[in-house]
């Protein structure tokens, strides 16, 4: 079963001309149309995100990983092509047909996201607990006691000392800020979690603990996770499936260990070779 299925998903940034698609992509070696200068951030992307699994999205800087994630999560509306989402009751929903309010409802009720930069995912003007409470409120809970109890539980589960829940996350370490982001993402009990380079700016030892936490959460909840990273080691540790992107295109998909041990595409061979 899949949670997302895309067909010819394409995202342009620029004026566009009739030749943008054919003049960009992995074979062309660029994502910028030489004729009109348009950036083709996603170029006919076809992929399936398996339900209950961790899909690693790897590829070099600028390959379109974040663009893909932003569209599926629902903060970007500018893509063409099809992206179907299977909701928890099993209905297939075409994301392109939803209006911004409906996209927002999906983000609030069914998705969670963690960014590389905690400033993007957290409100530093309110407490750590408040950051969680905000999301619990969105899910419809109105009772103060229940909200506080849930925030405490989530912070505890993600390894944030609950005695610090009334402090602003501004004073927290980078690793702790990521933990608060993860707690916040989980507040509405999402069925899909989007992770964009969540450990990239952390020290190695802190990074390891966050990866452990994500894995533990996944084993317990069987959430579907879209894991964007340019660190193959991170993907190797967490993901069961993998897609490799280059210049806006998916050049290879497969089981994670198969991609690592028997990469097919020239670019994947280069990428894996360089990471050994």
């Amino acid at each position: 079963m899949t949670v997302f299925e895309t067909q010819n998903l394409t995202r342009f940034y620029g004026v566009r001309c009739p030749r943008c698609l054919e003049k960009t992509g992995a074979a062309a070696g660029t994502n910028i149309c030489p004729d009109c200068g348009t950036v083709v951030a996603l170029n006919n992307v076809n992929l399936r995100v398996p339900k209950g699994e961790i899909l690693g999205v790897i590829g070099e800087s600028g390959s379109g990983k974040t663009t893909l994630l932003r569209y599926l999560y629902g903060v970007d509306f500018g893509a063409t092509g099809s992206a179907l989402y299977r909701n928890p009751s099993g209905e297939m929903i075409e994301l392109g047909e939803l209006d911004p309010a409906q996209r927002r409802r999906l983000r609030d009720r069914e998705f969670g996201i963690v960014f590389q930069n905690p400033h993007q995912g957290l409100n530093f003007r309110i407490s750590a607990g408040g950051n969680i409470a905000e999301r619990v409120l969105v899910s419809g809970e109105r009772n103060y006691g229940n909200i506080r109890e849930r925030a405490t539980l989530l912070l505890d589960r993600t390894g944030v000392p609950t005695r610090r829940m009334d402090e602003s996350p501004a004073g927290f370490s980078g690793g702790m800020q990521q933990r608060v982001q993860i707690a916040r993402a989980l507040a509405t009990e999402p069925c899909v979690l989007f992770l964009d380079e969540v450990t990239t700016s952390l020290d190695l030892s802190v990074q390891a603990k966050i990866l452990d936490l994500i894995l533990e959460l996944h084993q317990r909840t069987r959430l579907s996770i879209l894991l964007v990273t340019h660190d193959i080691g991170v993907a190797r540790m967490l993901a069961s499936h993998c897609i490799v992107m280059r210049y806006g295109q998916v050049v290879e998909t497969g089981l994670m260990d198969q991609i690592l041990e028997d990469p097919q595409h020239a670019y994947t061979q280069e990428l894996i070779g360089a990471s050994l």
Binding site: Q219, M237, T253, G254, L255, D262, Q269
Partner: protein, 235 residues
């Protein structure tokens, strides 16, 4: 004769290395059958393609041609060469296990958790999974003082026992073995051989490689010779 579990027909693996622009066959035209309760051994020179055959069946390598018909517990016949990634993953978790010379576990995970992990992927509670892991480690004979330590700190032989326990915890229907005794001392090797004999008695189908010809003779019902030269050509 006992039930057929795996039928490999004309399996082929061709590697293409883009950087050097070379292609070569790791093996070609391999056919074999593995039955419940029996061990099929792969023999052949170093580089003949024995490991590659096992990896293609497990889809760690992508086969280039042929079929691998696997008969599932539910009586379905699945071609492992063309099965979807997700179906392959499900079969790996429940029915087909692979024991290689190397153990891949998460760096900070205890042996017990590493062994329980394949079960945590399925429906049972983490507590039940850990209990079953304990039972499996006991059966396989890993000293109890090691159960809660990470395998990264173990000797080669101890790691290999964890590797085997990880394969056995799901009670596989097909077990692929790639020199599982390579790093074991004589006592652990004996234990491993006993375990394999026990699995055969329980009806598990086994396919694999032992570098020790005596072990191979003692365990295998059938031996398949792999080889006939690797052919190199320009891509």
């Amino acid at each position: 004769m006992s039930a057929t579990i795996l039928e490999v027909r004309n399996l082929k693996k061709r590697f293409t290395l883009h950087e050097t622009q070379t292609s070569f066959d790791a093996f070609d035209n391999v056919s074999l059958t593995v039955r419940a309760g029996s061990f099929t051994g792969l023999v052949g020179a170093s580089g003949a393609g024995k490991s590659s055959i096992l990896k293609c069946i497990y889809r760690r390598y992508l086969p280039s041609g042929g079929n691998c018909w696997f008969h599932t517990t539910d009586g379905e016949i699945v071609d492992l060469v063309t099965a979807s990634d997700q179906r392959t993953l499900e079969l790996r978790r429940k029915e087909i296990r692979f024991v290689s010379q190397f153990l891949h576990t998460l760096p900070r995970q205890s042996a017990r958790k590493a062994v329980a992990e394949p079960l945590i992927q399925s429906e049972i509670t983490p507590e039940d999974a850990l209990n079953q892991a304990t039972a499996t480690l006991e059966r396989i004979g890993l000293p109890q003082r090691l159960w809660d330590l990470p395998p990264a700190t173990f000797s080669g032989g101890e790691r290999q026992l964890v590797n085997m326990a990880r394969a056995l915890i799901v009670r596989p229907r097909l077990l692929l073995l790639d020199e599982p005794t390579a790093s074991l001392d004589p006592a652990s090797t004996r234990k491993m051989v006993e375990e394999i004999a026990r699995l055969k008695a329980e009806g598990v189908a086994l396919l694999g490689v032992f570098h020790d010809p005596e072990l191979m003779d003692a365990l295998a019902e059938e031996k398949i010779h792999v080889g006939g030269g690797v052919t190199w050509e320009k891509a």
